[in-house]
């Protein structure tokens, strides 16, 4: 129990961030019209591509003789970039189609 309480105290910043972000995530999405569900899912998909930062750190920290870390890290960077770039481009292409319509309005 004491360990647990200590853990909460040490990590309180992170715990606050997690809780607040959960509410922000829910609030932000809550009022979305169903028309935008697909682009929104796609956009969110691109945002979780932020995992690429972890891949870059792993890659950058890998010792030059640790081939396992180098190979896996390299793969992780490629896959993460695919997620980010592909995600944003696909979303943009979807939303491009809404643009013409909004101009007319």
């Amino acid at each position: 129990m004491e360990n647990f309480l200590n853990w909460i105290m040490l990590n309180q910043q992170i715990i606050y961030i997690v809780i607040l972000m959960i509410f922000v995530g829910i609030e932000v999405i809550g009022r979305v019209p169903s028309v935008l569900h697909t682009p929104l899912m796609s956009g969110a998909n691109a945002i979780h591509g932020v995992v690429i930062i972890g891949a870059i750190i792993v890659m950058g920290k890998a010792q030059t003789d640790n081939y396992l870390a180098l190979t896996l890290g390299f793969l992780a960077v490629i896959l993460g970039t695919l997620n980010v770039v592909g995600g944003f481009v696909v979303t943009d292409r979807m939303l491009e189609m809404f643009k013409g319509k909004n101009k007319k309005k």
Binding site: I14, V18, I22, F23, V24, I26, V28, R31, V32, S34, V35, L36, H37, T38, P39, L40, M41, G43, A44, N45, I47, H48, G49, V50, V51, I52, I53, G54, A55, I56, V58, M59, K61, T64, L68, L72, G73, F74, L75, A76, V77, L79, G80, T81, L82, N83, G86, G87, F88, V89, V90, D92, R93, M94, L95, E96, M97, F98, G100, N102
Partner: protein
């Protein structure tokens, strides 16, 4: 330098929130996407050039930049080339990439940790780190393999597959993986266990998505999307990296809510989707097939006649329209009818196509005005006064069994009540059942006429025919 990086991450986190917010309004959506992308770019380059771990900067720049270049090139190429109809599976594919990325990070970090333990000989004091690594690995792997299966299902390469006791096997797999993770926490350092967990989690992802019917894939992709968000957040814990944490949790929470919203649109619970009535319910299938009666066909010229002399026509688009890329032909038909004084609108079921909003995106591409798209409740009020309903490759979303037949796998799903209209014309390629694999009574009703053929071809023929009327 670390101060500037902190600022970069702060800016990026804020752009993610603003971007997501803007994405939820039609007028700002595109800009929102760009805002988030800009934030991501700042975070990525900030990390590359400014990141320091205990005073040591990152190395291996050649590897990092070639990885970014390869991924960026492939990503842009694939995303630019993909057809609008294939968008949903594209989202699934990219989601899988993110999941795999998170899993690989966990593997490498564990590798580092096991080296450290071997050098120092101390097994204790890594509990928190190992838990985070193991959870990141499991969630990331499930998200990856699940997304790959969802991708395969959406483009028709993988068929539904289930066997008795599959749910139990799945539970056991997950339990074993979690037990393995617990073992890892107690005895860290051995690479064999982490590979075993990796394989188990991959297998679980496959078996988890395998039995779920194609019609439910949007829900599954949305769920896996939020999984990847959580996996990214675990990466944030691991490196005490605030931007990964905020981005990951944001998507995790938003994705979960979006999943709920989608389930709600189908009037089903998430549990019902996952444990699955689509895959397992063979009874509804057999019963539907027996009731098959006779249907009547209608010719292009008769349909053209019927529509041009109608007062009000409602078009119900479905996946068939998307496959045939018939949205432009559809818009042309609509304009032609409007010129003839017919009132035309579109009825959009929330889950028509393969993803919520799929039809809206397609019709928007063809410049169909926003005001012409009716949502389900609106449309159901309108059908009573409608002369002709033209169904283009939609099936399950207009199946009356959802209202009448408690045995049907889609029972309880709100549908477009097209039967209330005076005439119903159904365009399909054949009498084959829709994606949920069940028969549709609507086709055998007296007021329904079938118009077989590829949606695009049929629409073009209709346009020519109506012009000559």
């Amino acid at each position: 330098m670390a101060q500037i990086l902190t600022l970069c991450y702060l800016v990026a986190s804020v752009t993610f929130i603003i971007g997501l917010k803007m994405l939820s309004g039609p007028a700002t959506a595109r800009k929102g996407n760009l805002v988030a992308a800009a934030g991501m770019t700042i975070a990525i380059f900030g990390t590359i050039f400014l990141y320091e771990n205990e005073g040591v900067k990152l190395g291996n720049y050649a590897w990092i930049f070639s990885g970014l270049a390869i991924g960026g090139f492939l990503g842009t190429l694939v995303a630019k080339k993909v057809k609008m109809t294939a968008m949903p599976e594209m989202v699934s594919l990219f989601n899988g990439m993110g999941g795999a990325c998170a899993a690989l990070i966990s593997l490498v970090e564990y590798n580092h940790l096991s080296h450290e333990i071997q050098l120092s000989g101390i097994e204790t004091g890594h509990t928190g780190k190992v838990i985070i690594i193991a959870l990141g690995l499991i969630i990331g792997s499930v998200s990856f393999s699940g997304s790959m299966i969802a991708w395969g299902k959406l483009n028709g390469k993988i068929k539904d597959f289930s066997f008795a006791g599959q749910n139990i096997l799945n539970m056991i797999l997950l339990l074993v993986a979690l037990l393995g993770a617990t073992w890892l926490v107690i005895h860290p350092g051995n690479m064999m266990y982490i590979y075993a967990i990796f394989v188990l989690a991959l297998l679980y992802g496959v078996l988890f998505v395998m039995p779920i019917g194609g019609a439910d894939m949007p829900v599954v992709i949305s769920l896996l999307n939020s999984f990847t968000g959580m996996a990214a957040a675990f990466g944030g814990f691991l490196y005490d990296n605030k931007v990964m944490l905020t981005g990951g949790i944001l998507v995790g929470a938003a994705g979960t809510l979006l999943t709920m919203l989608m389930c709600k649109a189908m009037n089903r619970s998430l549990r019902n989707v996952l444990i699955g009535s689509f895959g397992g319910n063979k009874k509804g299938l057999a019963a539907g097939a027996q009731e098959q009666g006779t249907y009547k066909e209608i010719s292009i010229s008769d349909s053209a006649m019927l529509m041009s002399y109608a007062n009000k026509v409602i078009i119900v688009p479905g996946y068939g329209l998307a496959v045939a890329q018939a949205q432009h032909a559809c818009h042309e038909l609509e304009k032609l009818l409007v010129d003839k004084g017919v009132e035309v609108s579109y009825a959009i079921h929330p889950v028509a196509g393969r993803m919520p909003g799929h039809m809206n995106v397609l019709l928007a591409e063809a410049d169909v005005p926003y005001e012409k798209l009716l949502e389900m409740e609106q449309a159901n009020d309108e059908f009573k006064t409608t002369d002709v309903v033209l169904i283009l490759g939609a099936n399950d979303v207009v199946n009356p069994a959802a209202k009448k037949d408690p045995d049907s796998p889609i029972y309880g799903m709100p549908i477009l009540e097209v039967e209330q209209a005076k005439n119903v014309i159904v365009n399909k390629r054949s009498m084959k059942p829709g994606y949920a694999g069940i028969e549709n009574d609507l086709f055998f009703q007296p007021k329904t006429s079938m118009l077989f053929g590829d949606a695009k071809k049929v629409l073009q023929d209709l346009v020519t025919e109506i012009k000559s009327v």
